[in-house]
Symmetry: C2
Subunit: 203 residues, 2 copies
């Protein structure tokens, strides 16, 4: 049987790692995480095969947060506003978490739990896009996967300023607004390259 202190330590480690990764990015040391959790650093590797897997677990949690929000928005009154809200939540999560973008680029296909969350994220994005398109709120050459990939864009733009968005923590809203204006219907230019396929995304 799994012991009581084991489940407690696992939770302490998840909490400590979540906070440290968010504050300092994915390069924080395991020792630092273990110390913050109040356990020996050997304990980290009893609960997680590798540092990458620990990061994946947390990254997956964040993705599920976004999936849950997206599912709520799937039945909202205004499909266009719902899609914007979905992108807002997704971008805000990244703006608050230094490790999110790094994890998105570094983990991509590796861990199974991440793959599953990404699949669900793509599903809910497809739903939101379909509804928004039906309402005429967005151009019709944009796909759900496009939306998922664009989630990183606005928060990344801000990183060039320095820190975790140290000063100007809400600047991402400006670039999200610009990007969303590019998704609107109207006199758009044809896109030069076809949308990525689901297979490319899932890996």
């Amino acid at each position: 049987m799994t012991r009581a202190d084991a489940v407690r330590n696992r939770r302490l480690l998840m909490d400590a790692a979540t906070a440290e990764f968010a504050e300092n990015g994915m390069d924080v040391s395991i020792t630092r995480i273990a110390t913050r959790a109040g356990v020996g650093k050997g304990t980290v590797f009893r609960h997680f095969d590798t540092k990458e897997q620990l990061l994946a677990e947390i990254f997956s949690d964040r993705l599920e947060e976004l999936v849950a929000a997206g599912e709520c928005l799937s039945t909202a009154d205004d499909p266009g506003a719902a899609l914007l809200e979905f992108m807002t939540i997704g971008t805000e999560i990244q703006a608050r978490d230094r490790s999110f973008c790094q994890a998105a680029a570094a983990l991509s296909r590796s861990e199974a739990t991440v793959r599953a969350s990404r699949e669900r994220l793509a599903d809910v994005a497809d739903t939101l896009v379909a509804r928004a398109r039906g309402a005429g709120a967005i151009r019709d050459d944009v796909t759900g996967l496009d939306i998922v990939l664009l989630l990183s864009a606005a928060s990344q733009a801000v990183l060039s300023l320095g820190g975790p968005g140290g000063e100007n923590p809400s600047l991402w809203q400006r670039y999200l607004a610009m990007i969303f204006d590019g998704l609107r219907p109207g006199p758009t230019h044809p896109l030069p390259v076809p949308a990525p396929t689901r297979a490319q995304f899932t890996g």
Copy 2:
């Protein structure tokens, strides 16, 4: 006097580091770079105070590439097309270089040489934006700094797919096109947050 082998080694190191950073990101080991250059790893630290400074030197070179391209485009016939071309070149540089985005986020203010290049980049972006606005090619609430920050956006979107854009190496063009459509004049929404100041960018 600086010896002949010293200037030769410095060039070999810059070339090796440029290639390795582009291919494998900024986490490649100094040993690997030194080996590729054909020198002992102690030599790296004779030419560059730190790994970060070596990265900064290369990053700065890339920025100057873009500045030079921007200066050419400052006198182009079609100011709107010139701005798009500037963003295309900037995004392509990043799509080809795994370390560029990482360096942009990690170095930001630290190194003096980077600061100078960023300043010149902001200058040329201001010029291009002013001309494009004069020609009515873009909305009038977009600044030169906005353009600089948005350069990272399109290439970052693609990173969620995995690798250095392993498969689908031209997908960034799709997202750059969308983003550029968001910069066009017309029925845009007001931006929720003011543009960043030059001081914030320069650090």
